[in-house]
């Protein structure tokens, strides 16, 4: 059953132990000038689950995951990430916690001036400094294989198609074996076939790397393939929370506008 904001939204969470919770957000607030984007967001990400955050454009979905990795500083509330309060850490401690997070950006965010190989080794050579060249190459080949690409190492990002860029970007995100994956609209701008492939890839990455994921999207096909649990944001609040089946069975007009 869908838990709307008026009812208890934490029913599912309460069933699980607190050690099972990787991200615990309470009363998160974020404004840009006078525009309140996140008014009061509370959610939890459990170990091993794919949590889809659904909402209209401008509902603050991307702002939410950018607050989680402190690309944006929240105005209020708390974010507990892997047992640490993100708002109160900085410097080395923040870098260490970011190493455990993989982030797939909406645009892919591949470094334009670098080849695919340089893009992939960029986080490796900076964080795992003791790795030898052969180990780096093995790791690169492994992640490329996992995202279903080969023979693109010396290509520049501009030579790749949209789907390939997303795959390389995903490969770069998983190269450090993250505990949590954050996907910011992973299928935006892709054709339906490639979108489904990327969604399947998200599931396969979750299984292979045993990650827990927050997937920001408004693509229902992606939701259907990836979601273990769904949270819908509306006007800066958590509007509804539940499983895919519960959302599809809902007669709420806002939810129906997404699913039917």
């Amino acid at each position: 059953m869908i838990n709307s904001q008026e009812t208890n939204i934490d029913t599912v969470s309460e069933e699980k132990t607190t050690s099972d919770v990787l991200i615990d957000i309470k009363n998160l607030k974020k404004s840009f000038g006078r525009l309140e984007v996140l008014k009061d967001i509370s959610l939890k990400l459990h170990n091993g689950e794919n949590l889809v955050v659904l909402g209209k454009s401008g509902s603050g979905k991307s702002v939410l995951i950018k607050c989680i990795v402190r690309l944006l500083n929240p105005d209020g509330g708390t974010i507990n990430l892997l047992g640490k309060e993100v708002n109160s850490i900085k410097g080395k401690e923040l870098s260490e916690i970011r190493e455990k997070i993989g982030f797939l950006f909406q645009s892919g965010a591949l470094y334009d001036s670098m080849t695919v190989k340089q893009n992939l080794e960029f986080p490796l050579v900076r964080i795992k400094k003791d790795l030898k060249e052969a180990e780096i190459n093995n790791k690169i080949n492994e992640v490329l294989e996992n995202v279903g690409l080969a023979d693109v190492l010396e290509k520049m990002p501009s030579e790749l198609s949209g789907g390939m860029r997303k795959r390389i970007s995903l490969a770069r995100s998983i190269i450090l074996d993250p505990v949590i994956m954050l996907y910011d609209e992973p299928t935006t701008g892709l054709d339906p076939v490639t979108s489904d492939e990327i969604s399947e890839l998200i599931n396969s990455v979750q299984k292979k790397y045993k990650t827990s994921s927050i997937i920001i999207t408004h693509d229902i096909a992606c939701v259907r393939i990836t979601a273990d649990r769904i949270i819908m944001l509306h006007e800066g609040h958590v509007y509804a929370e539940g499983t895919l089946e519960e959302f599809e069975a809902s007669d709420d007009p806002l939810i129906m506008s997404f699913f039917k």
Partner: protein, 281 residues
């Protein structure tokens, strides 16, 4: 007549009200602009502080620094060589009639050498580099900001200030004096060609005459200020790119603002450097 007066009075009142509204809008606008200016100065000061902090931190990105030196130095060299040669040639051709009036044509190489080394070489090279390097930095970092590449770098636990900004600022600071030396050297060659259009002076004699007029006090302050010009180009270019907005339009704006602000600051730094040199000598 009375009505007309009232109308006029009303008109005057409405004009006065409109003027006062306009004035208060102008005042608000000026206030916002002043606030924006101070905000920008403050932000840039914090940006420079971060650059200093990261410059002296561990894990210096040496490989990226060398790449930037190549990008800034080597790729700007052809432009600087052509400009330097033309600068020397034009300066000589333009000065020759005036020098001839006083029968001082033999002093032409010395005059050109002092002008080139003290002022024209550094300032022209710096302004060209502000256009080429500064706009490049503003556009590249601005586009990285728009396409979330800077965010991606930060999320992968790499400090973007250390990797992107410190390397570029140091490379610009180090490369500009070298480019100025090339501009001066090729300026001499251009000047020698200019002298030989209406005369016959060997290159050895020309160089002997030119360097005979230059002292350490001509050379040293000029070199010092070129380091400052390089730092200005690097800092402003990176700052404008780093603070670009989110749309693609802001990339162009960042590149443009980088050129305009760094050119202006170069001229201001030059003015201050000239004053200091004058006081010291």
């Amino acid at each position: 007549m009375k009505k007309l007066k009232i109308i006029n009075l009303k008109k005057a009142q409405s004009l006065a009200t409109a003027r006062s509204i306009k004035l208060s809008e102008d005042t608000l606008d000026q206030k916002e602009r002043a606030n924006g200016f101070f905000q920008e100065v403050g932000d840039m000061a914090l940006f420079i502080k971060q650059i200093f902090k990261e410059t002296f931190s561990r894990n210096f990105e040496f490989k990226e620094f060398l790449r930037q030196c190549y990008e800034i130095g080597n790729k700007s060299l052809p432009l600087i060589i052509i400009t330097g040669t033309i600068m020397g040639l034009v300066l000589t051709i333009q000065s020759r009639p005036a020098m001839a009036k006083f029968g001082a044509v033999t002093m032409l190489p010395g005059m050109v050498a002092v002008s080139l080394i003290r002022e024209i070489g550094p300032i022209i090279t710096a302004l060209i580099c502000a256009g080429k390097i500064g706009s490049g930095m503003g556009a590249e970092l601005g586009s990285m900001k728009v396409t979330e590449q800077i965010d991606a770098m930060e999320v992968s636990a790499t400090n973007p200030i250390r990797y992107l900004v410190v390397t570029r600022v140091l490379a610009a600071t180090l490369m500009l004096p070298i480019l100025v030396l090339f501009a001066d050297a090729f300026g001499f060659i251009g000047s020698w060609i200019g002298v030989n259009i209406k005369g016959d002076v060997s290159l050895v004699l020309y160089i002997f005459q030119a360097f005979g007029s230059i002292t350490f006090l001509d050379f040293f302050p000029a070199v010092v200020k070129t380091f400052l010009f390089g730092a200005v180009i690097g800092i402003v270019g990176c700052y404008k790119g780093f603070t670009a907005g989110r749309g693609t339009e802001s990339v162009g704006k960042a590149a443009n603002a980088a050129v305009v602000l760094s050119s202006l600051l170069i001229i201001i730094v030059d003015m201050i450097a000239v004053q200091i040199t004058d006081m010291l000598s």
